[in-house]
């Protein structure tokens, strides 16, 4: 069997394993879907009146503004779950068994990544559904929706590989849960919840150059028609870069352990 065929076959086997596990252990998925929905409710109904006024609108304007931020935050939160799941899987005997078998080794990780991506796309769909009920009013065409889905999928893949690498690097599931923490802060330290030009200089500089901001700006532009500029290209480059580096890092860490 050629390497490519072997990779495809073993990966699909490991993806099936992971999906079965996710179905059998649904509490993780439920938590992943519910947490961003709760955040959205808090931001819109608790802070939304005041923050929306600052944007020159009201609560309704703030729903539109905050959805891209919450979407990215959902991915960052889910990364913690993925890192923990990978770290605890590595402590199980089954992984030692798989390592002694003649299989395409990255398939063990691919299973985790694809499982997590499916889980998170599901979570995002639910989140957008709830946002629509709350008055989220996107102006996007079908093509723009597709572009949004494409960029977000690329972002999820990148962050998930990063989470897998962090999970592999961690010695215990407990320490794995801390590693992706900074990711959760990035939507706040960017244009996720308030525009960056309202921030002090140093923070604004960080906010404008960190990877989450161009991604949120691109999603916002695609869905709501705000200007995108060069954000789309920068966002794609960041996602691709994070994905490739994290994949290599994860693969290396897994082979060394």
């Amino acid at each position: 069997m050629s390497t490519l065929a072997l990779a495809a076959r073993d990966s699909s086997t490991m993806i099936r394993r992971q999906l079965k596990r996710l179905i059998r252990y649904p509490s993780m998925t439920i938590q992943l879907v519910a947490t961003p929905v709760i955040l959205l409710l808090v931001f819109v109904y608790v802070f939304g009146g005041t923050l929306g006024a600052g944007l020159g609108g009201g609560r309704g304007a703030y729903v539109d503004y905050v959805v891209p931020g919450i979407l990215l935050m959902a991915v960052a939160t889910a990364a913690t779950g993925t890192a923990v799941m990978v770290a605890s899987d590595m402590t199980e005997g089954i992984i030692a068994r798989l390592r002694t078998m003649r299989i395409w080794r990255p398939s063990i990780l691919t299973g985790h990544v694809v499982g997590a991506v499916i889980q998170q796309l599901l979570g995002m769909a639910v989140l957008i559904g709830v946002a629509l009920v709350m008055g989220f009013d996107p102006k996007a065409t079908a093509v723009e929706w597709l572009a949004t889905a494409g960029l977000l999928t690329l972002f999820v893949v990148a962050i998930t590989w990063l989470a897998v690498a962090l999970g592999l690097k961690a010695q215990t599931p407990e320490s794995a849960s801390n590693a992706p923490m900074p990711l959760i802060l990035l939507p706040f330290l960017g244009s996720g919840f308030v525009p960056t030009d309202s921030m002090p200089t140093a923070l604004r500089w960080f906010a404008e150059y960190q990877p989450f901001t161009p991604i949120m700006e691109t999603v916002r532009g695609l869905l709501l028609g705000t200007p995108i500029g060069n954000s789309a290209a920068i966002a794609t480059a960041w996602c691709a870069g994070i994905a490739v580096v994290s994949y290599l890092w994860a693969k290396n860490t897994f082979n060394k352990a």
């Binding site: 394993r17 596990r21 005997g93 089954i94 030692a96 068994r97 798989l98 390592r99 002694t100």
Partner: protein
């Protein structure tokens, strides 16, 4: 070299400055059972991890099924099966799903995979539990499923790392039976254990591992002869013959556990030469024992003498 399942030379492994394996040599012919026996921390699991491609050795050369361990790890992986000390089953999957996962990873067709899984569930007495998740299995069932998963790929060489540790006596006996059946079908087994009885029951050859060194190797019988403590029991029909025998041999004592006081115990290594000499001397004196039995020391004696450890710490 061709008919050796394992040929290891000067295997070394250290973690930082702690030496775990200090240059061990192993030779395991195909179709035999080799037991690596040692207390906890002797280096048994490390040896299995190295031989099964899980970790790299710091030094030494190893050929597994004719493949070089360092240069052809994937070919080695294709030839071996490993059942580790901690059950290597996916606890969130059912017994059948675990077996089908292995079948898929061995690239069996859907039909062959199903057939193989059904066959192994039957053979390992797991048919009733096939649809339950492995997390609900007892220790013995998980161990059986574990071994069944190893067998999906029909490996020629199987590593069993402490296969019966933590099992109740019944599960242990059924595991032994399974191992014997595997050997009968021509599979080579490399077994680690801390139970002397297990090595004695199953293994063709036994190596004693202590603090990362092999301190003795041979068949169970050879090992037992390594240390003194054996004796020959001679039973006589009457007291006078016993006294004559004692006078002729010049050594021995009456076995206190025989109520009739008609059994003489003569210290001996139990070897053929010593027996022949003893019988020749009795024969020359015209003394005929009614019964004769040889008691070689058991492996416990060997192990404790050679490792110089207290018995309780080995259990």
């Amino acid at each position: 070299m061709k008919d050796l399942a394992i040929a290891a030379n000067g295997l070394r492994k250290s973690y930082r400055d702690k030496v775990v394996l200090d240059g061990i040599d192993l030779t395991v012919p195909q179709g035999t059972v080799f037991a690596l026996l040692g207390p906890n921390g002797a280096g048994k699991t490390t040896t299995v991890q190295i031989l099964s491609t899980l970790i790299a050795a710091d030094g030494g050369t190893v050929q597994i099924a004719g493949f070089d361990l360092a240069r052809q790890p994937d070919d080695v992986r294709g030839a071996i099966g490993v059942t580790g000390q901690y059950s290597a089953v996916d606890k969130l999957l059912t017994g059948e799903e675990n077996l089908l996962l292995m079948a898929d990873l061995h690239h069996l067709s859907r039909k062959d995979g199903k057939r193989k899984a059904a066959e192994l569930l039957e053979r390992f007495d797991l048919v009733d539990a096939a649809g339950k998740t492995a997390a609900t299995y007892s220790g013995g069932m998980q161990r059986r499923l574990d071994l069944a998963m190893t067998l999906v790929g029909d490996p020629r060489l199987i590593f069993l790392d402490e296969p019966t540790t933590g099992l109740d006596p019944r599960s242990r006996r059924s595991m032994w039976q399974i191992v014997r059946e595997l050997v009968a079908s021509g599979v080579t087994i490399f077994l680690t254990t801390q139970y002397l009885e297990e090595a004695d029951e199953l293994a063709d050859r036994i190596a004693l591992l202590d603090h990362g060194r092999l301190i003795a190797e041979g068949t169970a019988e050879e090992l037992k002869r390594l240390i003194p403590g054996g004796h020959v029991s001679l039973r006589f029909t009457d007291d006078d013959t016993l006294k004559d025998a004692l006078g002729t041999l010049g050594r021995g004592f009456v076995d206190p556990s025989d109520d009739d006081r008609l059994t003489l115990q003569v210290p001996s290594d139990g070897g053929v030469a010593a027996l022949r000499e003893l019988l020749t001397r009795l024969d020359a004196a015209g003394i005929e024992p009614a019964d004769l039995s040889v008691h070689t020391p058991d492996l416990d004696d060997v192990f404790l003498t050679l490792t110089g450890q207290k018995q309780e710490t080995n259990r």
